[in-house]
């Protein structure tokens, strides 16, 4: 059937199936959310929260379930950017942007490079470990415990407050001076460590080649 229809080649089965499923799942949720918002049951912020939460959780699930590691890392991007939106909803503009800056630009590229230097070269499909059921159990357990505990606890009804950016900076550099220096040292260690590793690996490559 797909050959007969004058379909563009790019709208092939994968995309169509994936898109249909995604659309089928997402559309009702979106409609419900929009409806709720318009009727005033939830605030706009809450609506955005649910959307972002959907993206984050979906992305995270994708990142741990998808077999193709490049796709998994794509899915991770969704999670990390969604988390930035959550930070924003938590009224911490700065952290949100930092999340985008560090993860969106840096860590993801690092991951992609690493992927392309390893598995993704020829065969981006990986097999998961044999302890999947066990892992699943543990994860469900942990998640269940946490969630019940969290929901059980009495949080009162606290409201979030905006933290002025300038105060934040002042606070870090006044009260957390030692950790800042430690962070610098840590970064330095990471840097040198990575270099040493990479150099060794390269040296090994040279050896293997000669």
């Amino acid at each position: 059937m797909f050959d007969r229809l004058p379909l563009p080649s790019q709208l092939d089965r994968t995309i169509m199936a994936g898109g249909t499923i995604a659309g089928l799942v997402a559309a009702p949720v979106l409609i419900v959310l929009l409806g709720l918002q318009i009727t005033g049951t939830i605030s706009a912020a809450e609506m955005v929260f649910y959307m972002a939460a959907g993206v984050v959780l979906g992305g995270a699930l994708g990142a741990v379930l998808i077999k193709n590691i490049v796709h998994a890392s794509l899915s991770l991007i969704a999670t990390l950017l969604g988390v930035a939106a959550l930070y924003l909803l938590l009224l911490t503009e700065f952290i949100a942007l930092v999340q985008v800056l560090v993860y969106g630009g840096g860590v993801i590229i690092l991951l992609l490079f690493a992927l392309m230097m390893t598995n993704a070269q020829d065969d981006p499909i990986v097999q998961d470990g044999s302890q999947k059921p066990f892992a699943f159990g543990v994860a469900v357990l942990i998640g269940g415990v946490f969630v019940t505990a969290l929901l059980d606890a009495q949080w009162g009804d606290p409201t979030a407050a905006v933290i002025p950016f300038v105060d934040f900076g002042a606070r870090i550099f006044r009260d957390f001076s030692v950790p800042v220096i430690i962070v610098a040292v840590l970064l330095d260690i990471a840097l040198t460590g990575a270099f040493v590793n990479a150099r060794r690996a390269e040296a090994h490559d040279e050896e293997a080649r000669s």
């Binding site: 741990v64 991770l76 999670t79 959550l86 930092v98 860590v107 690493a114 949080w155 950790p179 990479a198």
Partner: protein, 102 residues
């Protein structure tokens, strides 16, 4: 206003998903990605507490910042190790890399 529970539950779920990934995945890079997810959950938790409960001290924020920082450093370093492992063993699977004498 969004109730704080939402964020807390979300962070717990993220943590659990990440945990699953760490246990279930074999490729070291994917494990690192799962760790990132766990750390993201933790950071959300920190920030939620900071902005909801800790209005003027906001140590939670600083902590989250440090978490992000350390996570970045960790990824860099760990990927270096993974790459070296890959270069020498031609594998990024943690199962195959169980003998640590290289």
């Amino acid at each position: 206003m969004i109730p704080i529970e939402n964020f807390l539950v979300l962070s717990a779920l993220l943590f659990a998903i990440g945990f699953y990934g760490v246990l279930a995945r074999r490729s070291a890079i994917l494990i690192l990605m799962s760790v990132e997810i766990m750390l993201a959950g933790v950071a959300i938790n920190f920030i939620a507490f900071a902005s909801y409960l800790d209005h003027d001290a906001f140590s939670g924020l600083v902590f989250a910042l440090f978490v992000i920082t350390v996570a970045a450093a960790e990824v860099g370093l760990a990927l270096g190790v993974v790459l070296r492992l890959f270069r020498e063993r031609r594998t990024a699977n943690v199962d195959e890399a169980n003998s640590l004498k290289w």
